[in-house]
Structures are given as structure tokens and as C-alpha cells.
Amino acid sequence: MAKSLLFPEFKVVRDENRCIACQVCVRQCANDVHIYDEEDDQVYSQEETCVGCQRCVTLCPTRALEVTKKEAGMRPNANWSINHLRNLYKQAETGGVLLTGMGCSEDYPIYWDHLLLNASQVTNPSIDPLREPIEIKTFLGRKEEFLDTDWEEEPPVLKTQLAPQLELSVPIMFSAMSYGSISYNAFRSLAEAAQEIGTFCNSGEGGLHPDFYLFGGNIIVQVASGRFGVHPGYLRAAAAVEIKIGQGAKPGIGGHLPGEKVSPDVSRTRKIPVGSDAISPAPHHDIYSIEDLERLILAIKEATNYKKPVSVKIAAVHNVAAIASGVVRAGADIVAIDGIRGGTGAAPQVIRDNVGIPIELALAQVDERLRREGIRHRASLVIAGGIRSSSDIIKAIALGADAVYIGTAALVALGCHLCQKCYTGKCNWGIATQDPYLTKRLNPNIGKRRLVALLHAWSAEIKEMLGGMGVNALESLRGNREHLRAVGLSREEREILGVKAAGEGW
């Protein structure tokens, strides 16, 4: 075969004065970048296969390694970017759809970075979270418009029975990441952290490994178009059930777990043969309209005795507000919306980078639409897709979200360096792989501790920001866009977000 025209993306720089040829890098790299030459007693690098995951750099005991982006020597061209050229060479060589992992990395506007928060001064005292309670407890599920109550009794007797609710001690959950796309240890870290914090993780479309039934009280199980691993026990084990219609990284197409990652254990959990690609269809083959979705929601409610909230996850697409309204009217208790920057274990790059809309705009429009239709209380709104920090979360809440899902951020806490190669099954950090040699690198106890620490840190920051705004309960910020102001946005964008320009008062 002719030599590939692809040029290395990364440059591996080894300081020979520091390198002691200990071969840590050789053992750590699943992409075989580092090669030990016994005769020379030296380690060499072949950078063609380097993905820039920084595993070797992090673990090198003498700090002899540096991996940097390799500047391609071609003449700069604004139209024909290096990425376009690489993709052209790759496709000319393979004739295939290009896969990628993680969320869209294109330079679309990130609206969180154009929104600023309010704080109290003089007329309204800020509240100090070290001295006063600041409440961020959150309930997800359908809310009543009013409570039918016998007020004559003491205490009053409720005649209305509340719809089932998920109780979150923080308004943050872990996004759907299946066992299969991520390792057993990664899933375990998420489940244990969710349990310790008092929130939820999501099984994704991968069924539930028998060991994880223990954590069912903190797991939302997914029913996606492939129906992998779905059976009555699976539904019953969970705290809630989520019907996955779409995913922000790949709206309009189905899921894809490459056969490389279908290990014997994954095969048992998903009920598919070892080594076979798990391809879920683009639509659910029993959902071709909103009425069909209503049937499935009802079927799941029947199967779970109306004891569990049913969530419906959709990707943020152009008409998302009307779609969300239909989903609420179809009986969803929670609507999860995943924006264009939402992550994935595997997706066609062309879809990931070109389909969907930013979550901020989708959220603002959905919340407003549901309110205008008077049905906002009938479902909670959970948003996902590139949430990076506690400030993104608090801005999302002020725009109208009840809670957020974090996926990528949680994986980064576990060690992910965003190399976007999840689909290869060669994750050197032991997260997005099923190779036992790699998965043991992630210790679930340490993973859990890191996730718990992250949520503690974010809770503390959220409380600081809330207190600063003079708000001591999260529900008073939820949908309260008066606490947001926009910088550097057009009038049209501000109108879509429902946020005033910075400098405008109340």
C-alpha cells in the first residue's frame, strides 16, 4: 500500500538528557507511539499515531516528554484548513465516513461566555453562604399547578398526590454514557459518586451491568432505539427511565458502539455478540410520530407502575421549542435537551460538527415556549452539551433549566484529555475502552473521589454566586433572567435568549 499522505498531528519532543529509558511511555501508549530499542538502550517515538492524549507526558517520571501540536508546513489557506486537508486525504484513502469522539470542537459562539451574572449591592444584601443556608436542592418531575387540599384539617390534608420526583442534592447529573462506550471502572466511578452526592447518573444505551443494579436508586436508565439491554428488571431497577430520541453530538442518526469495544462483559450486558458493532437505528422503529412517543411513555409508565418519572432526551435542533412542547404534551415528566456541543463515544464527524444548535439558545426558547403555553410546570428541563463550569450551570438555571447533565466535564475529572479518539477503544486513560490492560488504569475509588470533589467544588461556587445575588434558594433563580445580562451579542440573539444587554437596569 502506498504511503499515507496524512501527516502527524502531534510532535513528540523527548529531552534525551532527561530520558532514563525507563519505558513508562512505551507501556502507557496504546497507540504504539513510543518504541524501545534494546540495542541502543533508547526510546524512540513515531509520532504518526500520536493522538495527543498526554498520558506519556503526565506519567513520565523525569518530565522528559513534551507532546505539542505539530504545525503543518503547508502554505496557510483560510478556505482549505489543515483539518479539511486531513479529512480529504483520509477519505481518499479509506472511502469511509469519518468517525470522531467527544463534542463538537468547531468555533461556534459559546453563549455562556457572553452572559454575565448579577450581584447585590446596598439595596439588597448579599447572603453569605458561610453563615446562612443557601439551598440548591432540586426536584425533577411533573409539578402540579395547584394542590387540592383539605384546609379544614390541621395540618391540612393533601388530596393531590404529587407525581414521582427525582430528588437531587445538587442540580447536576451525569449524562448518559453507556457501559461499553466507557469502561466498567468509569461507570462505577460515576455511579458511586452519584450515590454519595445524592444525584443521578445515566446508563446510556448500554443496559445495566449486574453489579450496577445496586446503584439503581441513583441511576436513570435509557431506552434508546437499539433497545440494548432493556428488559423489565432493568426498568424496575432504576430511579427513572429516559427515552433517548436524539443526542446533541449526532442529531438525526442512531448510535454506534464499534465492535472493538464489545467485550464479553459488554456483550452480556447489551445482549449482543462479542465483537459485533452495536448499531442503533436512527429513529425508534416504534416511534414515527408524537403519538407513538406518547404510547411508549405510557407503556414505560405502566411497566413501572407510575412510580418513576419518564424523561425524553432530544437533540437541540431548529424547531426544538415546538418539539419540546409536543414531548411535554405526550406525557414526559422530564425533557432533556442536548446541544450541539454534547459529547459522544462515536459519531460521524460531519454530523457532530454541523448539525444542531447551541444549547443556550435552545434552552431559552424551550423554557419561554413552555411558559407561554402554560405547561412549563408539567415537565422539568434538563440540559446538556458542553457544560464546563459552575458558572455555565448557574447561567443555565437562570435561563430556565431545572438541572444540567455533565458528561465531558465528568470524564475530564476522571482524567480525559479530550483527544477525541473514544471510538478507537484505545483510551490510554482507561475511560473509553474495554481493554483490561487499559481499564485498570482508572481506579474507581479514586475516580469516585475526584467526581465527588468536583461536585462539592461546584456546589460551593454555585452557593457563592447565589448568595451574591441575594438569593438563598435555587428555585428563585430558575428562569429568572433578570439576573443575566448579555455582552457582545446582537439584539436578535438577546431576544432569543430573553436577556437584556449589560448596562440595562431592571
Partner: protein
């Protein structure tokens, strides 16, 4: 003249209720609020008075503020669609050097013509319609046998401007305002009223943005850009539409902390939990002390961590509320009881009822 911006304010509030229903002149409430002169800055004062129109007690008494006199006929045409106008008169005022230019005030005594069952909803709708559609006219009170009098100036000057010493009411509520920027509009002063509710408020509602959107779900549209307006509408929604009795108003508006709910026994625990889950959008946040006037009584409430002052006092059959104790002592030097509010507490009094002292502490103190 109406400004489209929100005005944060610090303020003084005071209220007097004679629980035997004996009507007293406005002199006492003016003296009481005047003591707290320093809490106002001359940019807003107002009063609500209950029991002032006994001869028209079955009619709605609409107080209209006209920035533009030309709007009178337009408003009257709207009123006539649903009501017969039994009597119209200018609200008498007294010229003074303290109060300069002022809008025209008129009162209408109205008899509802439609279905009895829809009566109150129709009144609310009419108030919303006039206030949002007719520029230059504003309904400042719309209850029965009660009225709101308010404007720009110190409250004691506003009281004398409206000749309140000539009215007799069993319940008086007053407000002195300290806005941090001038509204320049008389309708922006407190109290804020809808039907027979009136609200005076010291503080700033930091949950305003969501309270306003929550209310839109139920057909209430805030067009004044003041946080006091949302309190009035929330009280109307909760008490009139959702039938919450007075003692449970705080379960929605100043809900107990989750940690306190956790510590409750069943069935209280489930009740408060359900209330909080359901009424999250109605929770009032930020610093406030509020007096809510209603037909037959008044209620005081402070925010959950008591960021604004309020005391309640009792002397024989009279129940007092005020931002400061001095306002009570001014008109009733001797008090049977005096109770400072605790965070999230409500204390109320009603006509003909045994006095309600609020905290148990109050009993032990006697």
C-alpha cells in the same frame, strides 16, 4: 410619565387593625408612619384604608389615577362593558406646598353586571386591561369598601393631601418609600392593590424575574415593573384562586428551609415538601418585610432570614405592625405585647377573632 424600569427601594411600613371593627380616623396612621420619616426620602408614600365606604359596601370602589384627563371617557367606556357606574366623583385633595403637581384622582362605585361566579376574575381582568392598554390611566385600587391613596411625597404629606383624617377605617396600612432612583410617577408608590388586597413592602425581591414569569402562567401580567406588584398578584393567586388560608401563605411565599422540613414529623413534612415543590416559582427571595391588607384583617410577613425589620404589637383590641417599634409607641405608648418577627414568620390579625400573637415566645413572655 410611567417609567419602564424597576425601582429597588428601602422603606417604612405600618399598619393598624381594630379587631373589634371600630373605625378610626387616618390621623393615627399618619402619625405612626411620620415617626419613621428617615426611612423614606420623599419619593413615595401611600395608604390603604378598609371600611371607608360602608354606604357602598357591596360595590367595587375603583380609584383611578389619570396622568391624562383625556383618558377618562376611554376608561369609562371600558368600565361600562362589565359594570354599571353607580357613582363617580373626584377624590378630594388638599393643596399644600409639600405636594406640587399631581395627577387627577377619581373614584368609581361600580356594580358588576355579569355572572356572579366570574365576578372577581372579571374585575382582575378589567384592572389588567386598563393598566396595560390605556396609557395615562391607572387603576390603583379595585376592592370593596376599601381604597388606596398614594403618590409622590413623604407619607405624612400624602396623607394630608388626600385628607385621610376625614376618613374612618377599621384597618389602615401605610408606606413610606425610599427609592434609589426617582420614578416620577404616582402610580409607582405603594400600597399596591388588586381586588381588596393591598400590599406594602419594604425590600427588594431578588426572585422577581421568576415570580413574574410564574404569574404569567396564571394570566397575571406585571406591567409596573415593581416587585410589590408580584407580591399582590401572588397573594391573590394563592389565597383567592388556590384557597390557601392565611396561616399557610408562608408555606409558599417564605417556605421553610429544606433542613427544617426534614426535621418535621409526618404529615407536616409531606405537606410542606409538596407545597415547596409545587410553589417554587412563588417563593419570594431577597430581603422583605410586607404587610398585606385584606377584607377583615391584615398580615405581616418577613423573608426567610429576616433581612428587613418588622415588629408586631397589641394593645387591647388593636393590632399593630410596623418597621420600627417607635412607630407603635408613637400612637400606643403602652402595649400589651410587642413581638419582633422571626425569619419567615407571618403574624396576622382578623376582625372579631381572638388576637393571634404568632410566636409561642410571645405567650411565655407575658
Amino acid at each position: 410619565m410611567r417609567e419602564d424600569f424597576y425601582v429597588p427601594s428601602g422603606c417604612a411600613v405600618a399598619g393598624i387593625l381594630n379587631q373589634d371593627g371600630k373605625r378610626i380616623s387616618g390621623e393615627a396612621i399618619i402619625r405612626s408612619i411620620a415617626v419613621m420619616h428617615e426611612r423614606s426620602n420623599g419619593l413615595g408614600g401611600g395608604f390603604a384604608a378598609y371600611g371607608i365606604y360602608p354606604e357602598f359596601s357591596d360595590l367595587y370602589a375603583f380609584h383611578l389615577l389619570y396622568d391624562k384627563e383625556s383618558k377618562e371617557s376611554e376608561v369609562e367606556e371600558i368600565l361600562k362593558k362589565k359594570f354599571s357606574i353607580e357613582r363617580v366623583e373626584a377624590i378630594p385633595v388638599r393643596k399644600s406646598k409639600e405636594i406640587g403637581d399631581h395627577p387627577l384622582f377619581k373614584r368609581y362605585f361600580l356594580r358588576f353586571k355579569g355572572e356572579k361566579a366570574q365576578e372577581e376574575d372579571e374585575v382582575v381582568q378589567m384592572v389588567m386591561d386598563i393598566n396595560s392598554r390605556v396609557e395615562g390611566a391607572y387603576v390603583i385600587s379595585s376592592g370593596k369598601n376599601m381604597g388606596i391613596f398614594k403618590g409622590i411625597g413623604y407619607p405624612e404629606d400624602i396623607g394630608r393631601f388626600f385628607r385621610l383624617e376625614e376618613y374612618e377605617a377599621y384597618c389602615w396600612i401605610a408606606h413610606g418609600r425610599f427609592p434609589t432612583n426617582s420614578v416620577g410617577w404616582w402610580g409607582g408608590a405603594h400600597p399596591f392593590g388588586l381586588l381588596s388586597w393591598s400590599v406594602v413592602h419594604n425590600g427588594e425581591i431578588s426572585s422577581y424575574g421568576i415570580n413574574r414569569r410564574y404569574l404569567q402562567n396564571f394570566g397575571y401580567f406585571c406591567n409596573l415593573q415593581t416587585d410589590t406588584e408580584v407580591i399582590a398578584y401572588l397573594v391573590d393567586l394563592l389565597m383567592r384562586k388556590h384557597h390557601l388560608p392565611l396561616p399557610y401563605l408562608k408555606a409558599a411565599l417564605a417556605s421553610p428551609f429544606w433542613s427544617d422540613i426534614e426535621d418535621m414529623d409526618e404529615p407536616e413534612k409531606s405537606f410542606y415538601r409538596a407545597m415547596r415543590i409545587t410553589y417554587g416559582g412563588a417563593l419570594l427571595n431577597g430581603p422583605f418585610s410586607i404587610i398585606v391588607g385584606f377584607e377583615g384583617g391584615m398580615l405581616g410577613m418577613v423573608d426567610r432570614i429576616k433581612l428587613r425589620p418588622m415588629v408586631a404589637g397589641w394593645r387591647e383590641e388593636t393590632f399593630y405592625l410596623a418597621s420600627e417599634e417607635c412607630a407603635l409607641r408613637e400612637i400606643s405608648p403602652e402595649l400589651d405585647r410587642l413581638v419582633p418577627f422571626q425569619g419567615g414568620e407571618t403574624i396576622w390579625g382578623k376582625l372579631g377573632e381572638k388576637v393571634n400573637y404568632g410566636q409561642e415566645l410571645a405567650f411565655s413572655g407575658v
